[in-house]
Symmetry: C2
Subunit: 338 residues, 2 copies
């Protein structure tokens, strides 16, 4: 047999005396092939110079089923904690997890998606950078099942599972209003991120219901950079004395905000109350434990993962957003306004 013509599965099947399906299952590590039959098939394939990669794959004693998880900021414990939940979920169902990080960069997201398609993952969990689905063209063209996690698009191009972020923004604001704070600073990331936009809508809604006018000088936009948030917060408090409470887009940035508030000479919570989002593990372990909005990360991840497995099984992608109700977790960083 010429070296340049690898044997077909049909030829291997004929020589071993089994069906083509059985050979295919054996060489792709699918279950339901007896160890002895699998051994014979591999031996025969090796004798016939079947491509080395295929043989190597068959010898790896592990399912090749893989999910790709694309996160937007690996240095935020919020994502690390969700990855751990996803791993538990998928491992128990026979899937491996490989991860990509986009660092909130739209081009990096495109490259990550292309890489995962190239590596032939069975499905993708994606926390998207923007609110449009431009980067999903390859995915949709290749019919790779995908579920968005934690953020959604403006158009229902792909199914998504998010926290009810508008409700979360509302709960955070309502909590502070009920404590008597009427001048509430909102330190947010940029609104191309859907959760930022939705939390802000909730903030505005709560203000409206309390009869308080929205004051646009009480909104700061920052990037996810800890130092950027620190500098902008410090600058605000040097210039302005009227605020008594702050809502921060997420806990990891709230740590930076707290440091800035302390560094300008104010105390928490006596001078300034602070609320974050995410309920990351360290938020309860800070010297001043942080009041936060808990999105129920585990439920978000499990719901998104179930949806993804269903899309993989049924080869069918349902659009639409499933939102998980968040809860307010009150700790020491918020008190009555004096």
């Amino acid at each position: 047999m010429k070296k340049s013509n690898p044997p077909t599965i049909r030829e291997i099947a004929r020589l071993v005396g089994v069906s083509v399906n059985t050979v295919s299952r054996a060489l792709n590590n699918k279950p339901d092939v007896s160890p002895e039959t699998k051994k014979n098939i591999i031996k025969t394939a090796q004798l016939l110079n079947y491509t080395p990669n295929a043989i190597a794959r068959a010898l790896v004693q592990r399912s090749t089923r893989t999910i790709g998880m694309v996160m937007s900021d690996i240095s935020d414990p919020f994502f690390g904690e969700m990855v751990k939940d996803a791993e538990v979920f998928f491992r128990s169902r026979g899937y491996n997890l490989i991860l990509c990080n986009t660092q909130e960069n739209f081009d990096q997201e495109k490259h990550s998606i292309e890489t995962l398609i190239n590596k032939r993952v069975d499905g993708i969990l994606l926390t998207p950078v923007g609110r449009n689905g431009e980067n999903l063209q390859e995915i949709l063209k290749n019919r790779v099942p995908i579920v968005l996690l934690g953020r959604h698009f403006d158009e229902p191009i792909a199914p998504s599972v998010t926290s009810n972020d508008e409700r979360g923004g509302y709960l955070a604001t309502q909590h502070l209003l009920e404590l008597g704070h009427h001048k509430i600073l909102f330190i947010n990331v940029f609104h191309h991120i859907s959760s930022a936009h939705d939390r802000f809508l909730g903030y505005q809604k709560a203000l409206r219901e309390f009869g308080i006018d929205y004051d646009e000088s009480l909104l700061i936009h920052a990037s996810f950079d800890l130092d950027d948030v620190y500098q902008k917060t410090k600058k605000f408090f040097y210039q302005s004395g009227k605020v008594t409470a702050v809502i921060v887009f997420c806990d990891i940035l709230a740590i930076s905000v707290m440091k800035a508030v302390i560094d300008v000479g104010l105390t928490i919570p006596r001078d300034i109350s602070i609320v974050g989002f995410d309920n990351i593990n360290i938020s309860s372990l800070l010297p001043i434990p942080l009041t936060t909005i808990d999105p129920n990360k585990k439920k978000m991840v499990e719901t998104a993962s179930e949806l993804l497995l269903e899309a993989i099984r049924l080869d069918n992608i349902k659009a639409g957003n499933l939102s998980i109700e968040p809860t307010l977790t009150i700790r020491s960083s918020t008190i009555l306004s004096v």
Copy 2:
């Protein structure tokens, strides 16, 4: 042509009128193929029913060169920060990065490695769970280039780049001894992790040089679980009054330790000085900024990545450990013992 015999690259080359090498480059997205030639090659391949996956791969406008990075704890910002450095390094050199998380689990490490080999990464950066190289058998058999990052094996099976952890443990301990602390608690993770073992050796060395006997009651072993560290620290301080300083294996666990110390009614640094390791971003942003040992993460990552690229280029894996010198970063969590 029978459907079950895919055309060879040789046949495509002949029909298009180019070399076999050019066809291979075009179908594998390698550079140096003119867009027009590439188009002709793909068209011909499609006409001849070349396997769909290969065509799809060729159409994805991105290099398929990939590095797999296997980290041991994705929820520790130490790793998130190293991943960001690795991404910058590899992206500028035309490589994509895919990640796996082992969560300090030896079996999970084995599965992660098998998954990455299966996905045919060009090389692997690994922060290993244990000190023996058992899980590397598949890698070494398949001759996949690998460099260990942050930890090393007992035997020089694979090249590694680490912080000089013994020196780091020494610097942390020396700093506290020079401040007059003679009863120093060491909260460490288990010693199957090489950096834990090495930091501990440095601690013992500094004590010896200061003429202080090593007291084994001043060593606590904890897991990477924030709550486990918190509980063990609290229990120690309820039972013992003699310690005036604590060294903690890493910053993220030090946050837990600080909370436990505060919760038993002690103050930092006046009652208890604390030193961590890693210099993660938030360590400088804590209300009590944390004194820590900076391993120079960026240099560690770049050194390991250069080594890996060299191993890929030369198809040659040099054994041996390269250690990067750490520095002591003094902040507010340590003061003179009174």
